[in-house]
Protein backbone atom coordinates (compact mmCIF):
# COMPACT_ATOMS: atom_id res chain seq x y z
CA UNK A 1 0.00 0.00 0.00
CA UNK A 2 2.88 2.30 0.81
CA UNK A 3 4.06 2.05 -2.79
CA UNK A 4 0.86 3.76 -3.93
CA UNK A 5 1.44 6.80 -1.74
CA UNK A 6 4.13 8.81 -3.50
CA UNK A 7 4.66 12.51 -4.06
CA UNK A 8 3.25 12.10 -7.58
CA UNK A 9 0.10 10.23 -6.59
CA UNK A 10 -0.51 12.58 -3.65
CA UNK A 11 -0.19 15.64 -5.90
CA UNK A 12 -2.47 14.10 -8.52
CA UNK A 13 -5.06 13.04 -5.97
CA UNK A 14 -5.00 16.47 -4.32
CA UNK A 15 -5.55 18.12 -7.71
CA UNK A 16 -8.38 15.67 -8.48
CA UNK A 17 -10.10 16.56 -5.19
CA UNK A 18 -9.74 20.30 -5.88
CA UNK A 19 -11.10 19.86 -9.43
CA UNK A 20 -14.02 17.83 -8.09
CA UNK A 21 -14.91 20.56 -5.62
CA UNK A 22 -14.30 23.54 -7.90
CA UNK A 23 -15.31 22.32 -11.35
CA UNK A 24 -18.20 19.98 -10.63
CA UNK A 25 -20.80 22.63 -11.41
CA UNK A 26 -18.74 24.56 -13.98
CA UNK A 27 -20.72 25.63 -17.04
CA UNK A 28 -17.88 24.99 -19.50
CA UNK A 29 -17.58 21.27 -20.39
CA UNK A 30 -13.90 21.76 -21.23
CA UNK A 31 -13.16 22.70 -17.60
CA UNK A 32 -15.41 19.93 -16.25
CA UNK A 33 -13.47 17.46 -18.43
CA UNK A 34 -10.49 17.95 -16.12
CA UNK A 35 -12.24 15.98 -13.39
CA UNK A 36 -12.38 12.99 -15.72
CA UNK A 37 -8.86 13.59 -17.01
CA UNK A 38 -7.40 13.78 -13.50
CA UNK A 39 -9.37 10.68 -12.49
CA UNK A 40 -7.86 8.83 -15.46
CA UNK A 41 -4.41 10.19 -14.51
CA UNK A 42 -4.77 8.88 -10.95
CA UNK A 43 -5.99 5.52 -12.24
CA UNK A 44 -3.12 5.28 -14.72
CA UNK A 45 -0.64 6.12 -11.96
CA UNK A 46 -2.23 3.47 -9.72
CA UNK A 47 -2.20 0.82 -12.46
CA UNK A 48 1.40 1.76 -13.31
CA UNK A 49 2.48 1.21 -9.70
CA UNK A 50 0.48 -2.03 -9.50
CA UNK A 51 2.09 -3.42 -12.65
CA UNK A 52 5.56 -2.36 -11.53
CA UNK A 53 5.41 -3.36 -7.85
CA UNK A 54 2.92 -6.22 -7.66
CA UNK A 55 3.18 -7.87 -11.06
CA UNK A 56 6.89 -7.01 -11.36
CA UNK A 57 6.32 -6.18 -15.04
CA UNK A 58 7.36 -3.11 -17.07
CA UNK A 59 4.55 -0.55 -17.03
CA UNK A 60 5.35 1.43 -20.21
CA UNK A 61 2.22 0.08 -21.94
CA UNK A 62 -0.01 1.84 -19.40
CA UNK A 63 1.70 5.16 -20.09
CA UNK A 64 1.68 4.50 -23.84
CA UNK A 65 -2.10 4.20 -23.70
CA UNK A 66 -2.35 7.35 -21.59
CA UNK A 67 -0.22 9.52 -23.93
CA UNK A 68 -2.91 10.07 -26.65
CA UNK A 69 -5.46 10.94 -23.94
CA UNK A 70 -3.04 13.49 -22.50
CA UNK A 71 -2.39 14.94 -25.96
CA UNK A 72 -6.08 15.18 -26.80
CA UNK A 73 -7.15 16.80 -23.52
CA UNK A 74 -4.31 19.32 -23.35
CA UNK A 75 -4.70 20.38 -26.98
CA UNK A 76 -8.46 20.67 -26.75
CA UNK A 77 -7.98 22.92 -23.75
CA UNK A 78 -5.48 25.08 -25.60
CA UNK A 79 -7.96 25.26 -28.49
CA UNK A 80 -10.56 26.49 -26.01
CA UNK A 81 -8.09 29.09 -24.66
CA UNK A 82 -7.30 30.42 -28.15
CA UNK A 83 -10.97 30.57 -29.18
CA UNK A 84 -11.68 34.11 -27.87
CA UNK A 85 -8.79 35.38 -30.03
CA UNK A 86 -9.27 33.26 -33.16
CA UNK A 87 -10.23 29.76 -34.11
CA UNK A 88 -7.53 27.22 -34.97
CA UNK A 89 -9.69 24.19 -35.67
CA UNK A 90 -7.75 23.14 -38.77
CA UNK A 91 -4.45 23.47 -36.91
CA UNK A 92 -5.77 21.35 -34.06
CA UNK A 93 -6.93 18.60 -36.40
CA UNK A 94 -3.63 18.77 -38.32
CA UNK A 95 -1.58 18.51 -35.15
CA UNK A 96 -3.66 15.63 -33.73
CA UNK A 97 -3.25 13.78 -37.03
CA UNK A 98 0.52 14.38 -37.00
CA UNK A 99 0.68 13.19 -33.42
CA UNK A 100 -1.22 10.02 -34.36
CA UNK A 101 1.20 9.34 -37.22
CA UNK A 102 4.24 9.78 -34.94
CA UNK A 103 2.68 7.78 -32.13
CA UNK A 104 1.73 4.72 -34.18
CA UNK A 105 4.95 4.83 -36.21
CA UNK A 106 7.00 4.80 -33.02
CA UNK A 107 4.89 2.02 -31.52
CA UNK A 108 5.43 -0.08 -34.65
CA UNK A 109 9.16 0.72 -34.72
CA UNK A 110 9.45 -0.30 -31.04
CA UNK A 111 7.27 -3.38 -31.63
CA UNK A 112 5.04 -2.17 -28.79
CA UNK A 113 7.84 -3.08 -26.37
CA UNK A 114 8.92 0.33 -24.99
CA UNK A 115 7.68 3.75 -24.03
CA UNK A 116 7.09 6.13 -26.97
CA UNK A 117 9.60 8.66 -25.68
CA UNK A 118 10.13 10.49 -29.00
CA UNK A 119 6.40 11.14 -29.39
CA UNK A 120 6.24 12.14 -25.74
CA UNK A 121 9.08 14.65 -26.23
CA UNK A 122 7.40 15.94 -29.39
CA UNK A 123 4.17 16.45 -27.43
CA UNK A 124 6.08 18.28 -24.69
CA UNK A 125 7.72 20.63 -27.21
CA UNK A 126 4.37 21.28 -28.87
CA UNK A 127 2.75 22.07 -25.51
CA UNK A 128 5.60 24.46 -24.63
CA UNK A 129 5.08 26.26 -27.95
CA UNK A 130 1.31 26.32 -27.35
CA UNK A 131 1.92 27.87 -23.91
CA UNK A 132 4.29 30.49 -25.31
CA UNK A 133 1.74 31.31 -28.03
CA UNK A 134 -0.93 31.77 -25.37
CA UNK A 135 1.36 34.22 -23.53
CA UNK A 136 1.87 36.05 -26.83
CA UNK A 137 -1.90 36.37 -27.25
CA UNK A 138 -2.20 37.61 -23.68
CA UNK A 139 0.50 40.25 -24.28
CA UNK A 140 -1.01 41.29 -27.59
CA UNK A 141 -4.53 41.93 -26.37
CA UNK A 142 -5.26 45.43 -25.13
CA UNK A 143 -7.44 44.29 -22.27
CA UNK A 144 -5.90 44.24 -18.83
CA UNK A 145 -6.47 41.05 -16.83
CA UNK A 146 -5.88 40.46 -13.15
CA UNK A 147 -3.46 37.61 -13.76
CA UNK A 148 -3.06 36.70 -10.09
CA UNK A 149 -6.63 35.35 -10.20
CA UNK A 150 -6.92 34.41 -13.87
CA UNK A 151 -7.55 30.68 -14.13
CA UNK A 152 -6.27 30.00 -17.70
CA UNK A 153 -3.02 31.85 -16.94
CA UNK A 154 -2.24 29.60 -13.96
CA UNK A 155 -3.18 26.49 -15.90
CA UNK A 156 -0.73 27.47 -18.65
CA UNK A 157 1.94 28.37 -16.05
CA UNK A 158 1.79 24.88 -14.60
CA UNK A 159 1.82 23.29 -18.05
CA UNK A 160 4.83 25.23 -19.36
CA UNK A 161 6.89 24.63 -16.19
CA UNK A 162 6.14 20.90 -16.25
CA UNK A 163 6.80 20.27 -19.92
CA UNK A 164 9.79 22.60 -20.17
CA UNK A 165 11.37 21.04 -17.11
CA UNK A 166 10.38 17.59 -18.41
CA UNK A 167 12.00 18.05 -21.82
CA UNK A 168 15.15 19.52 -20.30
CA UNK A 169 15.35 16.68 -17.80
CA UNK A 170 14.83 14.05 -20.48
CA UNK A 171 17.44 15.58 -22.75
CA UNK A 172 20.17 16.34 -20.21
CA UNK A 173 19.58 13.82 -17.47
CA UNK A 174 19.35 10.51 -19.25
CA UNK A 175 22.69 9.44 -17.94
CA UNK A 176 21.83 10.32 -14.33
CA UNK A 177 19.29 7.48 -14.13
CA UNK A 178 22.23 5.15 -13.69
CA UNK A 179 23.25 6.76 -10.39
CA UNK A 180 21.07 5.94 -7.41
CA UNK A 181 20.15 9.06 -5.45
CA UNK A 182 19.86 9.58 -1.75
CA UNK A 183 16.09 9.07 -1.85
CA UNK A 184 16.48 5.55 -3.33
CA UNK A 185 15.12 6.88 -6.63
CA UNK A 186 16.84 8.12 -9.72
CA UNK A 187 17.69 11.79 -10.00
CA UNK A 188 15.29 12.13 -12.91
CA UNK A 189 12.47 10.76 -10.76
CA UNK A 190 13.18 13.39 -8.10
CA UNK A 191 13.09 16.19 -10.69
CA UNK A 192 9.82 14.85 -12.06
CA UNK A 193 8.39 14.77 -8.55
CA UNK A 194 9.20 18.44 -8.18
CA UNK A 195 7.77 19.23 -11.62
CA UNK A 196 4.61 17.26 -10.83
CA UNK A 197 4.13 19.20 -7.61
CA UNK A 198 4.52 22.48 -9.55
CA UNK A 199 2.11 21.29 -12.27
CA UNK A 200 -0.64 20.06 -9.97
CA UNK A 201 -0.33 23.02 -7.56
CA UNK A 202 -0.71 25.45 -10.47
CA UNK A 203 -3.64 23.51 -11.87
CA UNK A 204 -5.30 23.27 -8.45
CA UNK A 205 -4.85 27.02 -7.98
CA UNK A 206 -6.23 27.58 -11.46
CA UNK A 207 -9.35 25.53 -10.58
CA UNK A 208 -9.77 27.56 -7.40
CA UNK A 209 -9.52 30.80 -9.43
CA UNK A 210 -12.11 29.42 -11.82
CA UNK A 211 -14.40 28.54 -8.92
CA UNK A 212 -13.98 31.96 -7.30
CA UNK A 213 -14.56 33.72 -10.62
CA UNK A 214 -17.76 31.74 -11.09
CA UNK A 215 -19.07 32.41 -7.57
CA UNK A 216 -18.17 36.11 -7.66
CA UNK A 217 -20.01 36.43 -10.99
CA UNK A 218 -23.13 34.68 -9.72
CA UNK A 219 -23.21 36.87 -6.61
CA UNK A 220 -23.80 39.98 -8.78
Amino acid sequence: MQAYITINTTAEFFCLMVSLFCLYKDKAPVWRAFILFLLITCMVEGIGIYVHHTLRQPNFAVYNVFLPVECFVQNCFFYYLYKPYHSHKKLLVAWLSLFAVFYFSELIILHFKAFTSVTSTLLSVQLILASVYYYYLLLKEEKYRRLSAYAPFWWVNGTICFYFGGVATNVFFSYLVQYPGVFTHSARYIVFNILNVILYSSWAYSFICRYRQKTSRSSF
Binding site: E142, I160, C161, L176, V182, A187, L195
Partner: protein, 261 residues
Protein backbone atom coordinates in the same frame (compact mmCIF):
# COMPACT_ATOMS: atom_id res chain seq x y z
CA UNK B 1 33.78 8.73 -12.14
CA UNK B 2 31.61 8.24 -9.06
CA UNK B 3 29.05 10.83 -8.07
CA UNK B 4 28.55 11.24 -4.31
CA UNK B 5 24.97 11.23 -2.94
CA UNK B 6 25.46 14.76 -1.57
CA UNK B 7 26.71 16.00 -4.96
CA UNK B 8 23.80 14.32 -6.71
CA UNK B 9 21.23 16.04 -4.51
CA UNK B 10 22.92 19.35 -5.12
CA UNK B 11 23.06 18.66 -8.86
CA UNK B 12 19.38 17.74 -8.94
CA UNK B 13 18.37 20.91 -7.10
CA UNK B 14 20.56 23.13 -9.28
CA UNK B 15 19.22 21.47 -12.42
CA UNK B 16 15.63 21.95 -11.28
CA UNK B 17 16.28 25.64 -10.73
CA UNK B 18 18.06 26.00 -14.09
CA UNK B 19 15.32 24.16 -15.98
CA UNK B 20 12.67 26.34 -14.43
CA UNK B 21 14.47 29.63 -15.06
CA UNK B 22 13.19 29.99 -18.65
CA UNK B 23 9.46 29.34 -18.01
CA UNK B 24 9.52 31.38 -14.80
CA UNK B 25 11.23 34.27 -16.63
CA UNK B 26 8.50 34.17 -19.30
CA UNK B 27 5.78 34.14 -16.64
CA UNK B 28 7.36 37.09 -14.79
CA UNK B 29 7.68 39.00 -18.06
CA UNK B 30 3.98 38.41 -18.85
CA UNK B 31 3.00 39.57 -15.35
CA UNK B 32 5.16 42.72 -15.56
CA UNK B 33 3.91 43.55 -19.04
CA UNK B 34 0.35 43.07 -17.85
CA UNK B 35 1.03 45.42 -14.97
CA UNK B 36 2.30 48.03 -17.43
CA UNK B 37 -0.86 47.49 -19.44
CA UNK B 38 -2.86 48.32 -16.31
CA UNK B 39 -0.88 51.52 -15.76
CA UNK B 40 -1.31 52.46 -19.41
CA UNK B 41 -5.05 51.86 -19.14
CA UNK B 42 -5.25 54.07 -16.04
CA UNK B 43 -3.28 56.81 -17.78
CA UNK B 44 -5.56 56.60 -20.82
CA UNK B 45 -8.62 56.90 -18.61
CA UNK B 46 -7.11 59.88 -16.82
CA UNK B 47 -6.33 61.56 -20.14
CA UNK B 48 -9.84 60.85 -21.37
CA UNK B 49 -11.35 62.42 -18.25
CA UNK B 50 -9.05 65.45 -18.55
CA UNK B 51 -9.99 65.81 -22.20
CA UNK B 52 -13.70 65.58 -21.45
CA UNK B 53 -13.37 68.12 -18.63
CA UNK B 54 -11.46 70.49 -20.87
CA UNK B 55 -14.01 70.03 -23.64
CA UNK B 56 -16.83 70.86 -21.27
CA UNK B 57 -14.91 73.87 -19.97
CA UNK B 58 -14.30 75.05 -23.56
CA UNK B 59 -17.98 74.71 -24.41
CA UNK B 60 -18.92 76.70 -21.34
CA UNK B 61 -16.34 79.36 -22.10
CA UNK B 62 -17.59 79.71 -25.67
CA UNK B 63 -21.08 80.24 -24.24
CA UNK B 64 -19.81 82.67 -21.63
CA UNK B 65 -17.91 84.65 -24.25
CA UNK B 66 -21.09 84.91 -26.34
CA UNK B 67 -23.08 86.07 -23.32
CA UNK B 68 -20.46 88.70 -22.49
CA UNK B 69 -20.55 90.01 -26.04
CA UNK B 70 -24.34 90.12 -25.97
CA UNK B 71 -24.38 91.92 -22.60
CA UNK B 72 -21.77 94.43 -23.80
CA UNK B 73 -23.61 95.05 -27.04
CA UNK B 74 -26.98 95.44 -25.34
CA UNK B 75 -25.51 97.99 -22.96
CA UNK B 76 -23.22 99.89 -25.31
CA UNK B 77 -25.08 99.85 -28.61
CA UNK B 78 -28.72 98.85 -28.46
CA UNK B 79 -29.31 100.47 -25.08
CA UNK B 80 -27.79 103.73 -26.30
CA UNK B 81 -29.76 103.63 -29.54
CA UNK B 82 -33.04 103.05 -27.74
CA UNK B 83 -32.25 105.79 -25.23
CA UNK B 84 -31.57 108.17 -28.10
CA UNK B 85 -34.83 107.09 -29.74
CA UNK B 86 -36.72 107.82 -26.51
CA UNK B 87 -35.04 111.22 -26.17
CA UNK B 88 -35.78 112.07 -29.81
CA UNK B 89 -39.41 111.04 -29.50
CA UNK B 90 -39.88 112.85 -26.21
CA UNK B 91 -38.65 116.10 -27.71
CA UNK B 92 -41.34 116.10 -30.40
CA UNK B 93 -43.46 119.16 -30.06
CA UNK B 94 -46.90 118.73 -31.70
CA UNK B 95 -47.17 122.51 -31.94
CA UNK B 96 -44.14 122.61 -34.22
CA UNK B 97 -45.25 120.43 -37.17
CA UNK B 98 -42.32 121.47 -39.35
CA UNK B 99 -39.82 119.63 -37.04
CA UNK B 100 -42.08 116.66 -36.20
CA UNK B 101 -41.44 114.87 -39.46
CA UNK B 102 -37.67 115.34 -39.10
CA UNK B 103 -37.64 114.02 -35.54
CA UNK B 104 -39.85 111.04 -36.42
CA UNK B 105 -37.51 110.27 -39.30
CA UNK B 106 -34.52 110.47 -36.95
CA UNK B 107 -36.25 108.20 -34.37
CA UNK B 108 -37.13 105.76 -37.14
CA UNK B 109 -33.46 105.63 -38.24
CA UNK B 110 -32.34 105.00 -34.66
CA UNK B 111 -34.96 102.25 -34.22
CA UNK B 112 -33.83 100.65 -37.50
CA UNK B 113 -30.21 100.67 -36.33
CA UNK B 114 -31.29 99.13 -33.04
CA UNK B 115 -33.20 96.44 -34.95
CA UNK B 116 -30.13 95.73 -37.07
CA UNK B 117 -27.99 95.39 -33.96
CA UNK B 118 -30.57 93.05 -32.45
CA UNK B 119 -30.52 90.95 -35.59
CA UNK B 120 -26.73 90.71 -35.37
CA UNK B 121 -27.02 89.72 -31.73
CA UNK B 122 -29.57 87.06 -32.44
CA UNK B 123 -27.22 85.63 -35.08
CA UNK B 124 -24.48 85.62 -32.48
CA UNK B 125 -26.63 83.55 -30.11
CA UNK B 126 -27.14 81.05 -32.91
CA UNK B 127 -23.43 81.39 -33.60
CA UNK B 128 -22.74 79.13 -30.64
CA UNK B 129 -24.16 76.33 -32.69
CA UNK B 130 -22.16 77.39 -35.76
CA UNK B 131 -19.32 75.13 -34.71
CA UNK B 132 -21.53 72.24 -35.77
CA UNK B 133 -21.22 73.55 -39.35
CA UNK B 134 -17.49 73.47 -39.06
CA UNK B 135 -14.57 75.38 -37.63
CA UNK B 136 -14.21 77.75 -40.59
CA UNK B 137 -17.85 78.79 -40.43
CA UNK B 138 -17.61 79.56 -36.71
CA UNK B 139 -14.38 81.54 -37.10
CA UNK B 140 -15.81 83.44 -40.09
CA UNK B 141 -18.87 84.39 -38.09
CA UNK B 142 -16.77 85.58 -35.14
CA UNK B 143 -14.61 87.67 -37.49
CA UNK B 144 -17.66 89.11 -39.30
CA UNK B 145 -19.00 90.28 -35.98
CA UNK B 146 -15.69 91.91 -35.15
CA UNK B 147 -15.48 93.44 -38.62
CA UNK B 148 -18.85 95.15 -38.04
CA UNK B 149 -17.24 97.25 -35.28
CA UNK B 150 -14.91 98.64 -37.99
CA UNK B 151 -11.94 98.81 -35.63
CA UNK B 152 -9.81 96.25 -37.45
CA UNK B 153 -9.01 95.38 -41.00
CA UNK B 154 -9.71 91.66 -41.11
CA UNK B 155 -8.78 88.97 -43.64
CA UNK B 156 -9.74 85.32 -43.50
CA UNK B 157 -8.41 82.57 -45.70
CA UNK B 158 -9.36 78.91 -45.46
CA UNK B 159 -9.13 75.66 -47.42
CA UNK B 160 -10.82 73.77 -44.61
CA UNK B 161 -13.36 71.07 -45.42
CA UNK B 162 -15.42 69.72 -42.48
CA UNK B 163 -15.04 66.00 -41.88
CA UNK B 164 -18.71 65.16 -41.47
CA UNK B 165 -19.42 64.64 -37.81
CA UNK B 166 -18.61 67.36 -35.28
CA UNK B 167 -15.19 66.91 -33.83
CA UNK B 168 -14.38 67.63 -30.20
CA UNK B 169 -11.01 68.85 -31.38
CA UNK B 170 -12.76 71.63 -33.34
CA UNK B 171 -14.51 72.93 -30.23
CA UNK B 172 -11.24 73.13 -28.34
CA UNK B 173 -9.48 74.75 -31.31
CA UNK B 174 -12.29 77.25 -31.72
CA UNK B 175 -12.08 78.15 -28.03
CA UNK B 176 -8.31 78.60 -28.40
CA UNK B 177 -8.96 80.89 -31.36
CA UNK B 178 -11.34 82.96 -29.21
CA UNK B 179 -8.66 83.20 -26.51
CA UNK B 180 -6.10 84.50 -29.04
CA UNK B 181 -8.61 86.93 -30.53
CA UNK B 182 -9.49 88.24 -27.06
CA UNK B 183 -5.83 88.84 -26.36
CA UNK B 184 -5.51 90.82 -29.60
CA UNK B 185 -8.58 92.95 -28.87
CA UNK B 186 -7.63 93.60 -25.23
CA UNK B 187 -3.90 94.06 -25.35
CA UNK B 188 -2.50 94.30 -28.88
CA UNK B 189 -4.04 97.57 -30.09
CA UNK B 190 -3.84 96.10 -33.57
CA UNK B 191 -5.42 97.57 -36.68
CA UNK B 192 -5.15 94.46 -38.85
CA UNK B 193 -5.91 90.84 -38.10
CA UNK B 194 -5.18 88.01 -40.55
CA UNK B 195 -6.61 84.57 -39.91
CA UNK B 196 -5.95 81.48 -42.01
CA UNK B 197 -6.86 77.80 -41.76
CA UNK B 198 -4.66 75.43 -43.72
CA UNK B 199 -5.73 71.85 -44.07
CA UNK B 200 -2.83 69.71 -45.19
CA UNK B 201 -3.21 66.01 -44.37
CA UNK B 202 -2.63 64.90 -41.69
CA UNK B 203 -2.54 68.32 -40.05
CA UNK B 204 -4.82 71.29 -39.59
CA UNK B 205 -3.06 74.61 -39.01
CA UNK B 206 -4.67 77.73 -37.63
CA UNK B 207 -2.70 80.93 -38.17
CA UNK B 208 -3.62 84.21 -36.43
CA UNK B 209 -1.54 87.31 -37.18
CA UNK B 210 -1.89 90.88 -35.98
CA UNK B 211 0.09 94.09 -36.41
CA UNK B 212 -0.25 95.16 -32.77
CA UNK B 213 2.15 95.87 -29.94
CA UNK B 214 3.62 92.41 -29.67
CA UNK B 215 5.21 91.29 -26.42
CA UNK B 216 8.17 89.48 -24.92
CA UNK B 217 6.91 85.97 -24.29
CA UNK B 218 9.29 85.19 -21.43
CA UNK B 219 8.37 88.40 -19.58
CA UNK B 220 4.65 87.79 -19.93
CA UNK B 221 5.03 84.24 -18.62
CA UNK B 222 7.39 85.36 -15.82
CA UNK B 223 5.04 88.09 -14.60
CA UNK B 224 2.27 85.49 -14.51
CA UNK B 225 0.14 87.61 -16.83
CA UNK B 226 0.27 84.85 -19.33
CA UNK B 227 -2.70 82.74 -18.24
CA UNK B 228 -4.11 83.18 -21.74
CA UNK B 229 -0.85 81.97 -23.27
CA UNK B 230 -0.71 79.09 -20.81
CA UNK B 231 -4.29 78.08 -21.65
CA UNK B 232 -3.56 78.19 -25.37
CA UNK B 233 -0.57 75.90 -24.96
CA UNK B 234 -2.40 73.55 -22.56
CA UNK B 235 -5.40 73.20 -24.85
CA UNK B 236 -3.28 72.61 -27.92
CA UNK B 237 -1.31 69.92 -26.07
CA UNK B 238 -4.57 68.25 -25.06
CA UNK B 239 -5.51 67.72 -28.71
CA UNK B 240 -1.95 66.58 -29.50
CA UNK B 241 -1.19 69.87 -31.18
CA UNK B 242 1.69 72.30 -30.97
CA UNK B 243 1.74 76.08 -30.72
CA UNK B 244 4.37 78.43 -32.03
CA UNK B 245 4.28 82.12 -31.13
CA UNK B 246 6.42 84.57 -33.03
CA UNK B 247 6.30 88.03 -31.54
CA UNK B 248 8.44 91.14 -31.74
CA UNK B 249 7.58 94.10 -29.52
CA UNK B 250 6.08 96.79 -31.75
CA UNK B 251 5.75 94.55 -34.79
CA UNK B 252 2.81 92.33 -33.98
CA UNK B 253 2.32 88.68 -33.15
CA UNK B 254 1.87 85.49 -35.11
CA UNK B 255 0.26 82.50 -33.39
CA UNK B 256 0.37 79.18 -35.23
CA UNK B 257 -1.53 76.19 -33.87
CA UNK B 258 -1.05 72.87 -35.63
CA UNK B 259 -3.09 69.80 -34.72
CA UNK B 260 -3.29 66.32 -36.21
CA UNK B 261 -6.63 66.16 -38.07
Amino acid sequence: MQIQAKDLTFLVLISCVIFLIAPVAIIIYVILYNHRKKKHKEEKEWLKTTFENELLKSQMEVREQTMQTIAGNLHDNIGQLLSLTIVTLSTINPNDPSRVAKKVESATQLAKRATNELRQLSRLIHGQELISLGLAEAIKFELDYLRAAMLHEITFDSNYVPKGERSDKEIILFRTFQEVLNNIIRHAEATAINVAIKQEEPYLTLLIKDNGNGFVEEEVLKEKKGMGLFNIQKRAALISGDVSIITVPGSGTEVKIRIPY
